[in-house]
């Protein structure tokens, strides 16, 4: 008993301190440990999620890059096909146009030639007419001046002779 008094132990104080300490344990648990451990857990989850997200993002970025690459390649192929087709079409069209132009030119040339020929003929016939007229007039004039009956007879005989030969 001497030790208990020497140490200053009092049943009421023990009880009071027991209650106090229990309350302290409860309050610290409720207001300090639990929230802190909760927040640590939350943060851990968040960090894990963040890392997962980052991984997923980088993966999807990789995929997108790959897709873009594929898309570019296919677009390039398509573009070259289109250009080739366009070249072909343009060539065809050019040939068509050239052919058509040649045809037209031929037609026009032919027409012109025809025209020139017709004109030439007309001029020739006119020329013939005029020349024959001139010859006729000249002949008439010559005959009227130089023809006598005798001469006429001679000429006729000559022509007949010629015919008879």
């Amino acid at each position: 008993m001497g030790l208990i008094t020497a140490l200053g132990i009092d049943g009421r104080i023990l009880l009071a301190q027991f209650v106090n300490f229990s309350v302290l344990v409860f309050v610290l648990w409720r207001f300090a440990y639990k929230p802190v451990l909760g927040i640590l857990e939350d943060r851990k989850l968040k960090v894990e999620k963040g890392l997962d997200d980052a991984e997923a993002a980088s993966k999807s970025l990789q995929n997108t890059k790959e897709e873009t690459k594929q898309l570019l390649i296919s677009a390039r192929q398509e573009a070259s096909l289109i250009i080739e087709a366009a070249h072909k079409k343009a060539d065809e069209r050019q040939q068509e146009v050239v052919a058509k132009a040649e045809k037209e030119i031929n037609i026009i040339t032919e027409k012109e030639r025809e025209k020139i020929r017709a004109e030439k003929e007309a001029i020739m016939s006119q020329l013939k007419n005029e020349v024959s007229g001139l010859v006729l007039a000249g002949l008439q004039q010559f005959l009227s001046e130089n023809m006598t009956d005798q001469r006429d007879q001679e000429v006729i005989t000559k022509i007949v002779n010629n015919l008879e030969k």
Partner: protein, 247 residues
Amino acid sequence: MNLDISLAPNILFNIGSFPVSNTLLWSWLVFAFLMVGAIIFKYSLKMRPGKFQNIAEMLIGGSYDFAESLMGSKKKTDRAFPLVFTMFFFILFANLLTFIPGQSAVTIQTAGGVVPLFRAIISDYSLVFVMTMISVIVTQIVAIASVGPLRYVGKFFNFTSPLNFFLGLMDLVGEVAKVMSLSFRLFGNIFAGEVLGAVMLFLFPFFLPLPFAFLGLLTAVVQPFVFAVLTLVFISMATTTNEEATA
């Protein structure tokens, strides 16, 4: 100047017939401070921690991980951690509080003479005894809950052979001795530190007390750790049955 060393805390005043000693008063203040601090702390918690929250998180989180590594299971740790960590933190805080300089110079006049207003809280055996009893009783409750009441009693009163009977009795003595060893280790260390400091201060107040103050600081940090870890180990041991322990 005379050196007055008393094992019991000094009574400051009485509320009715209830004696209020200097350690009791300070323990109340520390209780109140820690509770209010915890409540304020809870409502200032942020997902992005500041300096203080960082330290608190490191302390609590690190202690939890350490406790988990000792207990081996998260469920058991969740049960034991609040009690054990409060023991550690309260004792540590109370001990560190004694290093605020100038405390021993403040005395007040009471009915029983001039007594110091401050005294290390842990150098009052009552509170240490209360915490030890909590630790030991919780250990026994955990043991009963995990192995069942019959086997719990059977551990101490084993009639299978004379040797086992003797060992069982030794276990019983060991449980009682636990109370003594656990409480007097803490109380003795802190009280001795206080006395040593006071004696050195009394002998020669300059420089001489400094090494002892450092020693006291070491004790102030190590003893709460020892107390808490021992409690944790006791609880952890109580959750494993004899078969598991020997297997």
